[in-house]
């Protein structure tokens, strides 16, 4: 199998630009690997081999004509299957939209195409992004590539993105994150995933789960690749009224520095302290590693986080059932059972509950802002557990038993609620060889510092370079 599939997007872009490798060769290497492994991994819902090769040939022709669009010129990627792609079906992982073919690209897909990137296909996901396990009854469950024997979940909802990037089927992806759907599969699959600040990246043309909690962001193997993708997709979009008019910095140019003097708050109560002992130990070692590199680490407790589960459930459930009400009246039988059940429960949240939840949201955002007023970033685990076996229902956390679903979203959901940027990245492995993920949380619109910390950490450690069992 070609080594091209293990190169970073940054490296592939450099090699394309210097004509060391053809975009067609790069696309073909990834398509060959998809053909060899995806029947087992189920990362893709739709593979676009012909259009990918056509786009790669066009990128090559542009290159030969002296036209290069930037660092992602001729570099392949694949979006989660809830991004509208012109002429390519966009299912949302559902039976309901199985034959839905958009007439227009989502804004972020269009921006990556303009940057010269090549779409390999559309990636698997929890149906309509409504579940952190990454299960799909219609297209099959994506399989975590780190365990070749057991069927472990990839985490979701961007499960195909986690698997494809971890297993070398695509060097980068766009996921979406409403309660952790970028960071959970990043953590469970051992890759890097960034949820930007709410409003930093356009959601136009992306199937919604919960308008006020949905975030769009990159998933790749390194912070540098996430920076390249973010640089291409971020910024104001008239088609998404929540996008910010703030200028977009050069995220990649902000990388490469050290962490000397950087103030890091280790999230203790409700975060690190509720993780399993292996996860807790790995995150504490990561904090010490940053400290040895010159960061100033202290401990921080966010006391309002206790209310997040109830309040964010009210918001997501209400907004989700509002979007799905029509289909829930006419096609309820076409949803997979867990998603149908969650949507039905949402119908019983009152308007008063919803507003109270939004009051709690303001309280939590204020508390995270206050913690970040004295620090540059916060650090904690991304998930309190490593990848469970499919069907495993119960987990034991630092503060007692939990169902797996609640455990998976427990440490990521508060940051959707507050809207701050957060990035997950690998920081260790369990005794059974499964990845452990940390997350770095930053100030609003300070993705540059979040990525800088992850990039510095990745230059100090090699967790992000490890390859899964299936690979």
């Amino acid at each position: 199998m070609s080594d091209l599939v293990w190169l970073s997007m940054a490296e592939l872009g450099r090699m394309v630009a210097t004509k060391e490798v053809s975009p067609v060769e790069v696309a073909r290497a990834h398509l060959d690997r998809i053909a060899a492994l995806d029947a087992r991994l189920r990362a893709f819902i739709t593979v676009c081999a012909e259009s990918a090769l056509e786009a790669a040939r066009a990128a090559e022709a542009d290159l030969m004509a002296g036209k290069i669009t930037g660092p992602l010129h001729g570099v392949p990627w694949a979006p989660k299957d809830l991004y509208s792609t012109k002429g390519i079906r966009t299912t949302g992982g559902s039976k309901i939209l199985a034959e839905s073919v958009p007439s227009k690209d989502a804004t972020v897909v269009s921006r990556l195409s303009q940057a010269g990137a090549v779409v390999l296909g559309k990636l698997n996901m929890h149906e309509f992004a409504y579940g952190p396990e990454g299960l799909n009854a219609h297209y099959g469950d994506a399989r975590n590539p780190w365990d070749g024997s057991a069927h472990r979940i990839a985490g979701g909802s961007s499960s195909g993105s986690g698997v494809a990037v971890a297993a070398g089927l695509a060097p980068g992806s766009l996921g979406s994150d409403t309660g952790g759907s970028i960071r959970i599969p990043a953590s469970l699959c051992g890759i890097t995933g960034l949820k930007p600040t709410y409003g930093r990246v356009s959601r136009a043309g992306v199937l919604p789960l919960s308008w006020s909690m949905d975030h769009v962001g990159p998933m790749a193997r390194t912070a540098r690749d996430c920076a390249l993708i973010l640089g291409a997709i971020a910024g104001y979009d008239p088609d998404d009224p929540t996008t910010s008019v703030l200028p977009v910095p050069d995220y990649a140019a902000a990388l490469g520095g050290d962490v000397k003097g950087l103030r890091v708050g280790l999230l203790r109560a409700h975060f690190t302290d509720v993780a399993t002992p292996e996860v807790r130990a790995a995150v504490e070692v990561a904090a010490r590693r940053l400290e040895q590199a010159g960061a100033v680490v202290d401990e921080v407790n966010l006391t309002q986080i206790d209310h997040v589960a109830a309040a964010s459930s009210a918001i997501v459930a209400s907004e989700a059932v509002a979007y799905h009400a029509g289909w829930m009246r006419t096609r309820a039988q076409d949803y997979q059972p867990d998603v149908r059940e969650r949507l039905r429960i949402g119908a019983f949240v009152s308007g008063a509950h919803y507003v109270r939840a939004q009051q709690v949201r303001a309280l939590v955002r204020r508390e995270v802002d206050e913690a970040l007023a004295k620090r540059d970033v916060l650090l904690g685990p991304a998930t309190p557990i490593a990848a469970p076996v499919l069907g495993e229902r119960d987990a034991t956390l630092g503060d007692g038993p939990s169902d797996v679903r609640s455990a998976l979203i427990r440490l990521t959901r508060p940051i959707n609620f507050s809207g701050h940027p957060a990035c997950a990245a690998p920081c260790g492995v369990t005794a059974s060889g499964l990845p452990i993920g940390l997350q770095i949380v930053g100030r609003p619109f300070d993705e540059a510092t979040v990525l800088r910390v992850i990039d510095a950490y990745q230059r100090l450690t090699d967790w992000h370079t490890r390859r899964p069992a299936v690979a």
């Binding site: 006020s212 109830a310 309040a311 039905r344 429960i345 119908a347 109270r356 939004q358 009051q359």
Partner: protein, 62 residues
């Protein structure tokens, strides 16, 4: 605060119809534990001091 009311399938049926959903008793019985859990969680938010807090209604952060 009013004493908590019992949430029966009949109660859910009425509320669902109010929302325009025609779900069977069996379908509602299946989700009743989940609805109860969520409503209990939401009831606990009543004790959070929020009187001086404006709800988040503007999502553009800058």
């Amino acid at each position: 605060m009013l004493a908590p009311m019992e949430i029966t399938v009949e109660t859910l049926q009425r509320l669902a119809r109010l929302g325009g959903f025609a779900w069977t008793d069996a379908e509602l019985e299946a989700i009743r534990p989940g609805v109860l859990r969520l409503l209990e969680m939401l009831e606990r938010l009543e004790s959070v001091p929020l009187d001086a807090i404006e709800p988040t209604t503007q999502y553009r952060m800058l």
